[in-house]
Amino acid sequence: MLPRRIILLIICTLLLFLGVYTWNQRTGQWDRLCASVGLEFTGGIMRGLDSLHDSLAGVWNSYVDLRNVRRENDELKARLRVLEQRLAGTREESAELIRLRRLMHLEYPASWPARASRVLAWRMGPNAALSTIMLSSGYLTGAAPGTPVTSWEGVVGRVLKAGPSTSVALLLTDPGSRVAVITSEGRVQGILSGGGPGLPLELRFVRQNAPVRVGEMLVTSGIDSCYPKGIPVARITAISTEGTSRSGASVLEIQAEPLVNFHRLEEVFLLQRPLDSITPESDAVYTRRTPVMERPEEAPNVASPASGDGA
C-alpha cells in the first residue's frame, strides 16, 4: 500500500470519527444504542456469572463452611436485643415529632420509595474513565438516569446511564460527582464533590466562620432536588482555614470520608422520586467543570451550576 494512500485512509478515518463523535454529542443516539445493546448484553453475562458464583458460594457457605455459625448467631442475637431497645426509645420520639409537625402545620416532603438492586460489576473495559458500578436494574425497573443510589450505610451515587434492565451508576467518589449537603449539627450548607478513587471527598463553598467540626456527619440537604433530604453521605475528617474560592473569597477547605464502604457493596437501593416532588432543573449526573460561584453565600443555589454543562 502506498504511503499516500495510507495517510489518506487515516485522515478519512479521523474525519469520519469526528463526524460520528460530534453527531453523537448533539443527539446521544449512539450512546443510547450502546446502552440498550452493549450494556444489556454485558449485564446479561454478568447476571449469569453472578448467579453461578452465588450458587457455588451458597453450597460452600450453607453446607460446608459452618464453623462460626453458632458464635455468629449468638452475636447477632445480642445485637438484635440492643437494637430493639434503641427502637423502643426512638418510637416515642418519632410519634412526638409527627404530633408536633401536625400542630405546626409543617409540610414534610413525601418519602421516596426504594427498590433493591444488585451490584454486578465495577468499572469495566478500556472505555471506563469514571468510577462506576454496574447494577442489575434498568430504566424498566426503576433505574432511569439521575436516580439516587443508596445503601444501608448512606449515599452511593446516581444512575449515569441505563439500558432496559441494566444500568451504570456514578459513585460519590468520582471527581465529577456533586451532592448538595448540610452538616448534621451546625446546619451549614455546601456542595460535596468527589476527589477520585482512594482520595477524600471535598466540601466546597463553606464560609470561614461557619460552625463545623471534625467528625460531624454530612447529610443530603435535598435542595438540589436530586436526593431526598436527610440521607447520611459522609463524615468530616479535616478542616483547613486556608482556602479561597475562585472569586478570592475566604472559604474553609473541608475534607470528608464517605460512609459507604464501596469495596463491600453488594446490594443497593434505588430511590424513586414521588410524583408530587420537584424535578431538578437538569438531569446531568456528571458535572464536567468546577462550578464557578462568586460568593460562598450563594451555595444553596446548587441546581444552576450543573444545569448547563452535564454529560
Binding site: M1, I6, L9, I10, T13, L14, L16, F17, V20, Y21, N24, Q25, W30, D31, L33, C34, A35, V37, G38, L39, E40, F41, T42, I45, M46, L49, A121, W122, R123, M124, G125, P126, N127, A128, A129, L130, T132, M134, L160, K161, G163, V168, L170, P175, G176, G196, R288, R289, D309, A311
Partner: protein
C-alpha cells in the same frame, strides 16, 4: 458464518466480559479482533468488530467513539503491518499489541480532555502496559482454541 463459528465468538465474548470484570481498564476483545483481522473474512470481521465496539462502548462510561476509532486504527495498522511483516506470528502480534497500547493511551487522553474528565496519566500508563503484555498471550490461547474448532468443523463438513 456457520453456527459453530458464531457460537465460538459468543463464547469468546462471554469469557472476555468475565476477564474484563476481573481486570478493570483492560480490553480482552482486542485479541479476538486481531484474530478476526488475520482470518481476512470481511463479513465476519464486520460482524465481530461491530459486536465488540457495541459491547465496549456500552459497558464504558465515556461518550461514544473512542473504541470505534481505536479498532478502526487497529485495522489500518494491521493491513499496513502485513505489508512489512508476516501478520500471523507471535512476534508480530506482540509488536502490534505494543503499538495499539500506545494508540489507546493517546485516544483515551484526547477523549478524556475533550469530555472534561480528569484522568491519571500513571494509572493509564499502567493499564496500557498490562494491555501490551496480555494482548499476545490472549491472542495465542484464542488462536489455538479457534484452530481446533475450525478444523473440527471442516472435518465434519467433509
Amino acid at each position: 458464518m456457520s453456527w459453530t463459528v458464531a457460537a465460538w465468538w459468543l463464547c469468546y465474548a462471554v469469557v472476555a466480559v468475565a476477564l474484563q470484570a476481573l481486570m478493570p481498564g483492560l480490553d480482552f476483545f482486542l485479541s479476538g479482533f486481531i484474530l478476526a483481522l488475520q482470518e481476512r473474512n470481511v463479513p465476519q470481521l464486520i460482524v465481530v468488530g461491530a459486536l465488540f465496539v457495541m459491547l465496549q462502548e456500552g459497558m464504558g462510561s465515556m461518550a461514544f467513539g473512542g473504541i470505534l476509532l481505536w479498532y478502526a486504527l487497529a485495522a489500518i495498522i494491521f493491513y499496513v503491518g502485513c505489508g512489512l511483516l508476516q501478520g500471523t506470528g507471535f512476534l508480530f502480534v506482540t509488536l502490534f499489541g505494543i503499538l495499539l497500547s500506545c494508540v489507546h493511551y493517546v485516544i483515551f487522553a484526547l477523549l478524556a480532555t475533550l469530555q472534561d474528565i480528569p484522568w491519571d496519566p500513571s494509572s493509564l500508563f499502567d493499564e496500557c502496559l498490562f494491555q501490551a503484555f496480555f494482548t499476545p498471550w490472549i491472542w495465542w490461547v484464542a488462536s489455538v482454541l479457534r484452530r481446533g474448532v475450525i478444523h473440527e468443523n471442516r472435518n465434519r463438513q467433509r
